[in-house]
Symmetry: D3
Subunit: 248 residues, 6 copies
């Protein structure tokens, strides 16, 4: 099967890392296509960034549909554009926050999310509630790390994440940790070994959950809210996003 | 004061109607600027449409900031881009679903939303919950009217809306009705007279609530989640949305 | 339009202060009538005080109806008698806790309420939940200030409020502050300037929200729970509150 | 022990009926004192009626405290003045809606409330939520019976209540019925026999739950929100309600 | 009436203590039958222990039904097997967590549970939510006391419980304390005197609440979810639990 | 990897069917071990049946641990014993209701559960809430089919299930269907084709989700509530369930 992993920001080094983690998690027969959109912000740290990453993300979904992709993963912890992507896609679409939070609820009682900047904590809480996972979320914590510092090998990003994880285990009554940024995906295994509790990265979790859904033959329901968008004109810069009348 | 009312779709006749309703609701000293974005879908009937309307909406917010606008109203019942708009704006920003639902909670016990297509009902429910208004929402109903039929004087749109409103009053135990589309704004007064209960249009409600907030000197808090977005490069079609380092 | 602001306690100095704040917030064409009831407690610091303030409050609503008042504000943060007042009134009625909490949700992510005595915190939480605003309420804090100390210029009330506000900003993850007593209304602007975040006073917020509702032509729905009370005899001290058969 | 059952309306025939039901439910050693207040509405069918019944109710609590009463039952399904009564009382205080809903949750999965006028349904829902019982409440139904028709032996009140109960069992998926008015207390046993499911009357349930609490030595906590009200002047008609400085 | 109090663990000293507390709380005419099951764990400190205590508990319910017992109390704070027991029993069945939490909600604003091992806190939270009592639960605290240490007079169990209770009063904003283990039942009165707030033990609370329900003639509804289990074969060790076709 | 699928009832024909469905869903390299416990009810249609199925289920978990099984699926829609099983197991454990509901939330907006007997609907609602999936659950419906009729090829079970599914699609506003019994697993694909919407069977969904978790290296957290049960004596019939001191 073919799974397209879309890093909604346009920083290729992060896309490469995400792709490597996704491939490491995938089954032998799964082809992982890791891409960044052709347009959008270099990192996603605000609702504004999310909004402007979404058109490029949707273009990648549309391209994937044309190419017969089986499933999609949105590899940013804010899960931008998830419902719009589901409208476009025949197959299943997951966000990494969604994947990670659900997986956490399967193996523990309560999880803490450790994320980058404090300003993104609200979005993590919002998603936890939207997915029904708020009851399992002990707390959301931030390291005040800008996303792109995770790409800089000279930064002390890992040490700060470890420190915040330890505080979570000491203070939050949690038994699982969730990494709150796709850029942390490569740290997952080593953190789990160091901390002695399950640590969940949404990129690898998402890929394997999508493999499950595809192997079950489950596709996005086209009966109601998630039916294919109605074809209609788009104007200005958004013209390329107009769906043709013969789109489906 | 200057309030910018942004119809996030690009259908000028709807923008004109919205502008007229907004002006009719505004105080004498308020200048209402009603616009459509320079890019985006001609109507908003899906999450996909919302996502592609948002960049154009945000460009209008950014332009409003440069022009010293005091407050903004997002005139589509899905309230697309609301949090991103709040990050950009110094002054307050409201969505019309938000404005209408809050106003309904002030004057009744339970409201029913009467909207256009059934596929948008999920978004109305989602917003009711996000705003804390779900406890006041008796039901969301759809007329299965495409948005642009509201612009066609030969359609029987008003009759179908009246019928659905009557069913709501008969079956839902509601005492207030909320119109679920900016394109219905012009029907509000006459429906209320015909039905004998308060009927709320989010365009006029939103304009007057913004007047309240501006007159109180209340602006969007810049302390946490809604702080101004961090400046960073954008690529491809989204380059024009990059915020300069000197943006704030 | 005429808005009646009812301070449900019978301390005239507080009524005067509330009236001044209400007038400062109102539009030029709005007549603010600020009153205390002719009966009831000198301050409201318990459910018992609220219960005994309510008849006098309702007498003021009834008098306002006879005089053709357009809207009413209940200027005590416990919002006593709100639903009963709505039954009596044709126009809209708001409580200051209700007004302040809704306004806070329009301009920030999470608010903290800073109130007087700790024993009133439960009522603030109760109202936040009843209004759907609990999801926006980070915390309720008390300064352990008796209400009437706010009227004593020699007290250090303002300093204690500032201290508690600072603790809220440090510890609660809030981005907006809500003043939890009508007697704090005069401190709102200066606190906001000193603390650098929006600070909301329900008296001024309530007056302007009522102006919005009145200008929209929105009145309390008379279809269900909030219909005018049925006329019936009252006995003993409550005889004056009997509604005549010809009342409506 | 001595339990004071306060019918908050001033219709003596209803008080007599309530007293008889309370005495029939009480243990041999319990003295039931059934009273109506000296002031207030003849029936309670609105928030306005509740508000004006509350001072008389509180006077009865205060008199009970002076007389050494052990516990109090508020015998109106709106549970008016419950928290204020708890502040005044040393012993426990229950409302009949509270008692009935909790008892229902002990013996079934979901209950339906059958009440008098539809306009009071909102209050029943509000109480179910405030007590945490909303999850057990399948539905609230009204017979559109004015309260005092329950006192008229020529009315067909019982037949209408039976009809509504049968509809509840057919349509609501409930397994317990709760009577939504103290004036229905005498019907409880015969309805249960006729309908073949548990039917709960809050008057008898409340008396026996209070007996439980008193026998356990449990009194209203005076540590926080429910501490005795602070002594302070009351003005006008409310002067008799001022609590002396030596009150406690 | 006859009330059977089942300590679901098989430690007789604890059963004796529970029986003594139950008898001390019961009315003169009530016969309390305190038993341990003939099979199961010596203490209950995990979901595993609960699961293995439940068959023995249900055998005691079945034996009670044969003997005409009127009501049952499950005397372990995890309330194991409660719904299954309700299916078997004609009369009412309560768990001690259920009884204690409801009683706490009658006499205060918010309670803290003080329990034994931290690993059981999740179950206490789960029950608070299932009973609708989560809104009254300020916090659940553990002393890290194994259950059977409560049976050892040389342990310092009481001192550790007192310490945790004091921390609860200092930090949690609670006004009532709930003891989180049947083995603490004998400490209830003395803790309440020492701490100056109501302290609730579910054993005595449960017995008196059951007396209330029995005296009201209320039995478990047999209409839906709690109807008697269908007769069917059981295999292996569970053969003795097969309900005969003539069981009811 | 080795996944043990435990049908908690003791009807071998159902275990065979479940095993076949599980194997059909599993990846090539996965060994599915499908078993019934050596003790317990022949079908599970009540809380009583669930309670008596649980010891046998736990014995199978313990045997699986001794044999080095990687993950477990509890193949009964009531998910009996799930938390106790998680305490025993090193690897992940899922219930089929849990698996099906989560999968449904990934591919649609709202699901309806179609189950066997109406008396089990309460448990389905309870699980939906416990898993955070209640917001996605449009309704639970029953066909009033006893579980073992699903095993009888001459019954009209499939027709009745199809009818109920069609009613769900017509009336519930759902876009996904969830089969509410492991005995329906073999119908999943054909129902989905016939009805034109995704239909989810928890057996196949659960197997593939477990494959995901195992391939991610995620195991049940042993830090808190789900730590291995403490070793302790068990008495009577439960003696074989005592965990030795050297158990872990």
């Amino acid at each position: 099967m073919r799974i397209k992993v879309i890093n909604p920001n346009t920083t290729q080094s992060m896309t490469d890392k995400i792709g490597a983690c996704a491939r490491a998690a995938a089954r032998p027969g799964t082809e992982v296509i890791a891409v960044s959109p052709a347009m959008g912000p270099v990192s996603i740290e605000s609702h504004y960034d999310e909004a402007l990453a979404t058109p490029g993300l949707l273009a990648e979904i549309a391209a994937g549909e044309a190419a017969g992709v089986d499933a999609y993963l949105i590899a940013c912890f804010g899960d931008p554009g998830l419902k719009a992507a589901r409208e476009l896609a025949r197959g299943p679409v997951l966000g990494i926050a969604e994947a990670a939070m659900h997986a956490a609820s399967f193996i523990g009682s309560r999880f803490t999310v450790v994320t980058t900047l404090a300003r993104t904590m609200g979005q993590a809480h919002h998603l936890a509630e939207a997915y029904g996972m708020a009851r399992f979320c002990a707390r959301v914590r931030a390291c005040e790390l800008p996303v792109l510092e995770l790409e800089d090998p000279r930064s002390n990003a890992r040490a700060r994440i470890v420190d915040e994880c330890r505080r979570a285990l000491d203070e939050d009554g949690c038994d699982v940790l969730v990494l709150g940024c796709a850029g942390m995906a490569d740290l997952c295994r080593s953190l789990s070994e160091e901390l002695g509790v399950p640590v969940i990265d949404g990129v690898s979790a998402g890929v394997t959950l999508l493999e499950s859904l595809v192997s079950l033959g489950l596709k996005t329901s086209k009966r109601g809210e998630l039916a294919h968008p109605l074809p209609k004109p788009m104007t200005g810069l958004m013209q390329p996003f107009a769906l043709g009348l013969g789109a489906r």
